[in-house]
Structures are given as C-alpha cells and as structure tokens.
Amino acid sequence: MELKDVLKELTEAIGISGYEFPAANKTALFLKPYCHEVSLDNMGSVITLKRGEQNGDKRLKILIAAHLDEIGLMITKIEDGGFIRVTRVGGIDVSTLPGQEVKIFAGQGENVIRGVIGAKPPHLQNPGESSKPMGFDDLYIDTGFSKSELEKSVEVGTLVRIESEFTELENGYISAQAMDDRAGVASMIETLRRLTLRKHTWDVYAIATAQEEVSGLGAKSTAFRIEPDIAIAIDVTFGNGPGIPERRSYQLGKGPTIGLGPNFHPKITQKLCDVAKEFEIPYQVEADPHPGGTDAYSLQVSKAGIPAGLLSIPLRNMHSTVEVLKLEDVKRLAELLSVFISQLDSKFQEDLKCF
C-alpha cells in the first residue's frame, strides 16, 4: 500500500485521547508485516518490536514513538429542542468550530449521527455580535432531531468528531484532520518498512502512544515498561503561514525538523544531522529551549533518564481539521530515521555518557 493511502486510512480512523482503540487497531495492522511482535498495552498504546540482527539477548534498544491520539469533542448535555452542548478533549481552538459539520459516534460508535455546530446568521445577530469570539457556552450541535430521539443513543460522554475529508491538494500537499500525529504514525510505519531493507543491530520498539494530547501518558508508561537505551519521538511542528512568526515555523517541503535544545541529547541531535547530511536528506533544525509538547519530554525523564531526540513534520493549521503537510516530508523523515537506526552501534550508546 502506498504511504499516501496508509496516511489516508490512519486519519480516517477515530482516536480521540483516551479512546484510541479504532486508530490503534488500524496502526497495529499496518505495523504487523514489518515487525516481530505487536500488542496493545493497558493504556491503549500500540507496542511493536522489530529485533536487531545480532545474536544473544543483550541487544541495545531504541524506542521510536508517534502519538496515536487526536483532539476532539465530548458531549456534556442534551438540551430541550435537541441542542447538544460539548466540551473539548485536548487543545481544540474554539474559533475553528462555528459552522462545522460533525459526526456524533453514538452507541458503541457504530451509530453515526450527522450534525452541525450552529452559527447564527448575520440577519439575526445584534450589532457588533460578529466581532465577539465565541466560547463553549455559545456553541451547540444541531442534528435537527428532538431531544427524545437523540436520547435513544446519545448520552453525556459520547464522542464527537468534526467531519473533514482527506484531500489531495496540488504540488504533493495533503489536507486532512488528525495528521497531528497520524502523519508521525505513518512516518513510523514507513521507517519500519524501510528498515526491513536495511540491517540494524539494535532492537527497535515502535510505539504508537495514547493520550499525548492530554498528559503524555502513553509515552511515559511504555518507556517505563521497555527501558530503552535511547528514544526518538516523531511529531509535527508548525508550518509557515501568514501571521506566524518565521523563527517559530518551518517550510513545508524542506524536510523534517531535527529538535535541538535541552530536551534532546546533543549527541542524538548531532547524529541525526550528520546522517541527513551524509545521505543528502533535506532537513531543518528546530531550536527550542523549552520542553515542547511532545512525547520527547515524557521520554527524557522516564526512569533513570532516556537520551531523547525529536523529528517533526512541518504542518500548517495545526489542531484544526484542515491540517496541511507535504507527503515528501513524511517520507524523508522515515528515510532519515531508518538510516539513523541502521547506523546505531554499541559505541554510540557508550558515548552518550561522555560529555
């Protein structure tokens, strides 16, 4: 299957934080052909192992992690007239919600009800109303159905996803929802596929983590279980755009970014850059002194500390349902990471403590 189709299927699977099961199943299915062991853990993360080509049980371990979960909405109340109030799971920007089409996953998720997030027409607004930002108190979902009809299958806690089709734009760009971080998951799958064509001595644990958007739980719990020697998180980073500071955003199509700063082990950052240069893989350096909102932070402080690195795919319109990326960047990240893994040896691990 083409990487583009893998990404399409991954973004179409629902996996709101804490309820990642559909996305987890899909991810496990895609990873299975390229690894030796696949399982789901008790927090909802997908854990896979691809053993290194070295005899004995004392192989070194690298953990690579991309998060499985996506942000979404959850029902808090069904009001008279059938209007449904919601709250957010993860960092949804309320300003992107008015006038959106939504799917309500009623019952066990098998019964999908279509609705819209109501947007009062200009004709009925008071003067100045359209310049006031809306909050969750102003927003509701309208399905056109009555309260009693809805209550047959919808209840408080039912999950809601904004509808957005996977769309191919011109010039190799793609727009879809949940590419934060299914694009990372797709890149991780592609990394493993490429590793089947290369030799590597380290064991590779590829993990699709749960609940990154709310607590980083999946990365913490899996790192604790696996105790890797090093870890690399795969996530998305800010793509450029009007009104977005140039120094905090990255060009699409210019390659993945390599994280640089206190959150990342300098030798991992350096080696990632060296590999990219040696193999002429375009890359951008993302310098950030703060512990970013990625799994790399959770990994770095797990147990007695795990040297961590971060690779990111530039993504425009992050945390919206119209996220945009360039597929080439997803492929380049996989190429960079698979070469990096294939070059890992025991000396690299020994040098991590030499400052």
Binding site: S95, Q125, G241
Partner: protein, 336 residues
C-alpha cells in the same frame, strides 16, 4: 435527489454558470420557452391566458472571491454576500470553475498566546498547497469564485447542506413549474440577489408581471438564545410567509391568498417574525409602476454559513402551498 443536485452545485453571486446549467436541464422539458438575459437570469415560461405571474428564486449563493496571491503561495480573498467571519477559519473550500480544493488557514492555538480575538476575513487566507505564487497558480487565479465544499446529506426528514438560501426556493420553483396553469407563469431563476436583489429587478422590468412571488430559504431562529425572543421562523412548522422585511411590505391580498389557501387545504404555515433581510420581492414590487408581491420561504437554520439544516416536510409543504395558491389565483380568488 433534486435538492442534492441544486445545493452541491456552485454559484457564487456573479458566477452562477454551473447552477444555471443544472436548473436549465431540470426545467426545459416542462416549459414552453426558456431564455437568459444579459445578466444571467434564467427565464422559464409556461404560456397561458389571463394574468402574468412571475415566480422568482435566486440561484446565487454567498461565497468568496480571490483578490490576491502572495509570493509565498497563500491566496487572499474577499467575501461575496453576508458571511460571518467567525465561520471561516479551518474551512474546506473549492476554488474556480475547476473546483480546486483549498483550506482556510489558522494560526495554531499554541502560538496564539491566549489571544482569542476574532480574525477578520482580510487577515485570513486560503492554503491551496503551495509554497510560491507559481505553485498556487495551479489552484487559483485572481477573480476566481470560491464556495464552501459542503455536500448534502439526508438523515430521515433532515437535510444538511450548503446554499439552501436559496436552492430550497429554486427547488420549490422547479417543482411548481412541473404542473400546468391556465395563466402565464414565468419562473425566473435570478442572479446576484445576495449583492442587492440585482437580477430580480431587471427581470421584472423585462417581464412586466401582474403578480410577483419570491421563493426563499429564510432564517430559522428556533435555536438556543440568551434572551427569550420569538424565533424568526421555526424549522418543521411549515412555509414562512413574509408580511414585511427590510426590502418589502408584502401585498396584503397575496398574503391573504396564501393564508386562506393554507387554511383551506390544511397546509401548515407560519409568518416570519423578524423584519431583517431582503428578498427578490423587494426588487419586483418596485418595478415599473409597481407589482403586488409576496415572499414565501422554507425555514433554514444557519443560512449564510458553510452548512445549514432544513426539514424536508417544510420544503414539500412550501411546494404544496405555492401550487394550491396559484390554482386559487387562477380561479380569480383575489381582489385586484
């Protein structure tokens, strides 16, 4: 389904080609003459004797218009028609005749620093998947119309889609053109209503009708509010008859004709309880030496946004009310 074809077609004011073609194909077989004027109004006439009745529904919809392409490949736009800026961020759109996909970009919440001010349309842009002006040129050029990429979905009696204002009215007009009348009935599918009732005015001038009806998709206001106010109309409670709005005071005799017909035939109806907005009646009634006119509408929740909701029973009842009222008109049941 007729409404699906109508709503999914593009037709931003001034760029009504696609929707006009769809409607032309639907109605040609039912009428004696069909023609367009210089602005693009589509006339569909059924000839008869006695009064000449003009029934108008506008084919244009609100949308966007490409006015600039940045060197970085981002596409800037202006609004056509009354759109609330707050429904624009993170929206999927289709650009130009070839309907190239694009999305309206946002600044990620992480970089907003808690600033939740409404971003005006002048500061918004369409991301077409480009990193240069040349790349963007594959998707958009200056002057392209832009529509929301919403597709119609039916769940039971509820339809969800874009442009019910006024494709609902167009659908009602198409349905009544399928039936026969002894008088001359001219259906006019008007252009540029959203820019100030522009098509209807010149169409009425050319036609010189004795009566005018405008068919609309109007605001349904039966949604949560902070104050206890009477909703503009209620979805599911029948066609809405306009007594007065910003553009017209409806002809009293025509209002009575509709109300009496509804009562006699047992068709549910309601009056529109706000006086905001304008419709093609506003232009028709002022034409030449004056044309008695009235507006009848299908209640639509969330007009002028990317997606609205209607109840199919309201649509069917509007068709029924219009058909039965025209039959009553033909039997001379009106003071003139």
């Amino acid at each position: 389904m007729l409404l699906e074809k109508l709503c999914n077609a593009s037709g931003v004011s001034g760029f009504e080609n696609e929707i006009r073609q769809v409607i032309k194909e639907e109605v040609t077989q039912y009428v004696d003459e069909i023609w367009t004027d210089t602005m693009g109004n589509l006339f569909a006439m059924k000839k008869g004797i006695g009064p000449k009745v003009m029934v108008a529904a506008h084919i244009d919809e609100v949308g966007l218009f490409v006015d600039f392409i940045e060197s970085s490949g981002f596409v800037r736009f202006q609004k056509i028609g009354g759109i609330d800026d707050r429904v624009l961020p993170a929206r999927k759109v289709l650009i130009g005749e070839k309907k190239k996909p694009g999305v309206i970009g946002i600044k990620p919440i992480h970089l907003k620093g808690g600033n939740n001010q409404v971003v005006g349309s002048d500061d918004l842009y369409i991301d077409v998947g480009a990193s240069s002006k040349d790349e963007a040129g594959k998707s958009a050029k200056i002057g392209d119309p832009v529509v929301f990429s919403t597709k119609l979905v039916q769940s039971g009696d509820i339809l969800r889609g874009k442009a019910f204002d006024d494709r609902a009215g167009c659908g009602v007009l198409i349905e009544i053109l399928k039936k026969s009348y002894p008088f001359t009935l001219c259906g006019v599918f008007t252009v540029q209503e959203e820019l100030g009732l522009r098509g209807a005015g010149i169409a009425a001038y050319a036609l010189e009708p004795d009566f005018g009806f405008a068919l609309e998709g109007t605001t349904a206001g039966d949604t949560p509010t902070k104050k206890d106010i009477s909703p503009s109309t209620n979805m599911g409670e029948g066609p809405a008859i306009t007594i007065m709005d910003r553009s017209v005071i409806s002809d009293k005799n025509l209002v009575n004709l509709l109300v009496n017909t509804a009562t006699k035939e047992g068709i549910p109806y309601q009056f529109k309880r706000t006086i905001t907005g304008g419709t093609d009646s506003g232009a028709i009634h002022r034409t030449r030496s004056g044309v008695p006119s009235v507006t009848v509408a299908v209640p639509v929740r969330y007009i002028h946004s990317p997606v609205g909701i209607i109840n199919i029973n309201d649509f069917n009842n509007t068709v029924e009310l219009m058909y039965k009222s025209l039959k009553a008109l033909e039997s001379g049941n009106i003071d003139h």
